[in-house]
């Protein structure tokens, strides 16, 4: 099969064959956890299960939990040595995302509060 011939090019001397940690079980577990988190989010948003002023905070926590589930079970981010670069890049991305969103909300809230005509 010519596919196998082409695969040889993909191996580099001294590096073990890539072992996939992904399995059907891990995807299914991820799907189950994600569905639970989604249903929890929609329930919290539409009922008084949580103390109403705390609902946005609860929704953010559930969203972060679900993002974590997706990263681990679907994107297979983990603590393996070949994942170090991916984790560091993700950490930098998360830093920028929080600076942009948090900073914008903070600055504009401050401007609105100081606007005499508003």
């Amino acid at each position: 099969m010519d596919g196998d011939d082409l695969l040889v090019e993909d191996r580099t001397p001294g590096v073990e064959e890539h072992e996939s940690t992904a399995s059907i079980l891990s995807y299914t577990l991820g799907l189950g956890l994600a569905i639970v988190a989604t249903i929890a989010s929609f329930t919290v948003a539409q009922t008084d299960l949580l103390w109403p002023p705390g609902i946005p905070a609860g929704l953010i926590v559930l969203a972060l939990a679900q993002i974590g589930v997706h990263l681990v079970f679907f994107l297979h981010l983990g603590s393996a040595p070949d994942q170090t670069n991916n984790i560091l890049a993700l950490a930098f991305g998360v830093l920028i995302v929080f600076l942009v969103i948090g900073g914008s909300i903070w600055i504009v809230a401050n401007l609105n509060a100081n606007m005499p005509m508003h």
Binding site: L6, T12, I24, A34, T38, H70, I96, S104, I105
Partner: protein, 207 residues
Amino acid sequence: MTTTTIEAAANRAAHQREVGPAPKRIVVAYGFWIFILSDIVMFSALFAAYAVLAGNTAGGPTGADLFNIRNVFLMTMCLLVSSYTSGLGALSAEQRKPERFLIFAVPTFVLGAAFLALEISEFMGMVDKGAGPSRSAFLSAFFTLVGMHGAHVSAGLIWLVYMVAQVVAKGLHAAVLRRLLCFSLFWHALDIVWIGVMTLVYLMGIQ
């Protein structure tokens, strides 16, 4: 052979293992991961714009008036299960089972297309009610953010068709497998962005 020479040989082997270049698969996935993170940074700017403008409805309809939460729940489930089947497809491809990959590609595409159809009908319903993107700053930000996600989903669907064609025409050789890996990263990342949209725009919008 003395013990020291064996040890020296073992050390050399261990050293070589550490300094050898990473397999192309890992390098490609890393590069594409950087692209996805930069795409998410772009989305974060749109999220920030939405968060800042969400209250500026200019006397027009608010999120609570417009959003149909049952529709949003359906969209969320479509995208989530589509992400799941695309993962199973990627797994089948890694195990060199092209037929199973093609079988899983069908629900991935159908559910992605269903998501898009629900989103387009939501947008058209809003425009019909006079709540188009030009009505208020809130709606401009809403259509930009949610529309940008929808545009990514459309691009992902086109990419999926292209990948299916490649698997059929070329088989699962190394280069096609790397492209499939990138596609799966992209599709899973879109689902992660959707979690943000669903929470920040819809669930917080109806509070």
